[in-house]
Subunit: 170 residues, 2 copies
């Protein structure tokens, strides 16, 4: 194994140690409808409200995201692990079948919004940048839906977990 | 309250629903030594291993990061909440006092590495971009240290939590 390949594997192990929220990033428009489970979602600024999403360039969804120019970030609750598995391609459900499952509706920007997600943020893609193997999307948020309750779904050490019910006490 | 301000507050509420790993981002070099607690850290690509960090432009640490050109991302364990509070400015410890606490050592790139962090990733800043209120840093990782065990520290609904001990079962 090359030292570059070793460094890549070590980096992946380090990233497995970084607890991350699980999201389904969706799009709908003239180029079609699709979605992908993603943990590489990050808040950038609240002025204007902007999120960042990284998607592997190998994904066939990139041209759909680009052409539609819009996305919705659905932040999953701990009850939505099964949906996360479908959109991560861990099951054999085809894309259109995934959207036929209960829970999907069209949002204000006509993006696929998952009911009972902790938060759904619809926005317009402002910038796309290629970095190594990934496309980085900057999404300016136009409409937000928030669930008042529910625990989060996180991915940590290559497994799904629910956010704990008890907070730490300093 | 203006509708822009309302949208900002709504966005912040939505971000409070996005569980995030807690990190201390440090730097050391000719411009000095400092660090800041940050949740806006995201994996971008493993080729080359690259992380992204967003820091508020108001922070006096930005010129230090820029001039040193290097950073270390320390992914905190659930036992490091107190350190997270110090570097978030939630206590009255001055910057240099924070680094005098037990646990800090110089890494391979001479960046401040926190012992027993789940992972510490030292790297070189490849790109800086201003987006709204924040500076976005792209950090190419050169050296990685990983702890084999330990639970993560997450920030969710404006409180610290430990990653749960039990995984979900699909």
């Amino acid at each position: 194994m090359s030292s570059e390949e070793q460094q890549r594997l070590l980096f992946r192990d380090a990233m497995a140690s970084l607890p991350a929220a699980v999201n389904i990033v969706t799009t709908q428009g003239k180029a079609g409808r699709c979605g992908i489970t993603a943990t590489a979602v990050c808040s950038v600024t609240d002025t204007p409200p902007t999120l960042l999403v990284c998607v592997n360039r190998k994904s066939a969804m990139n041209p759909v995201f680009e052409q539609n120019g819009k996305m919705c970030i659905n932040v999953l609750s701990h009850e939505q692990e099964e949906m996360a598995r479908h959109f991560a391609g861990m099951t054999d459900l085809a894309m259109e079948q995934r959207f036929m499952l209960n829970g999907w509706r069209d949002g204000v920007l006509k993006q696929p919004v998952l009911q009972n997600a902790l938060a759904s943020l619809e926005g317009e893609i402002q910038q796309i940048q290629s970095i190594g193997t990934h496309q980085m999307y900057l999404l300016e948020i136009r409409h937000i839906t928030i669930a008042q309750e529910g625990h989060g779904l996180i991915y940590f050490r290559r497994k799904f977990h629910a956010t704990p019910h008890q907070e730490l006490i300093a």
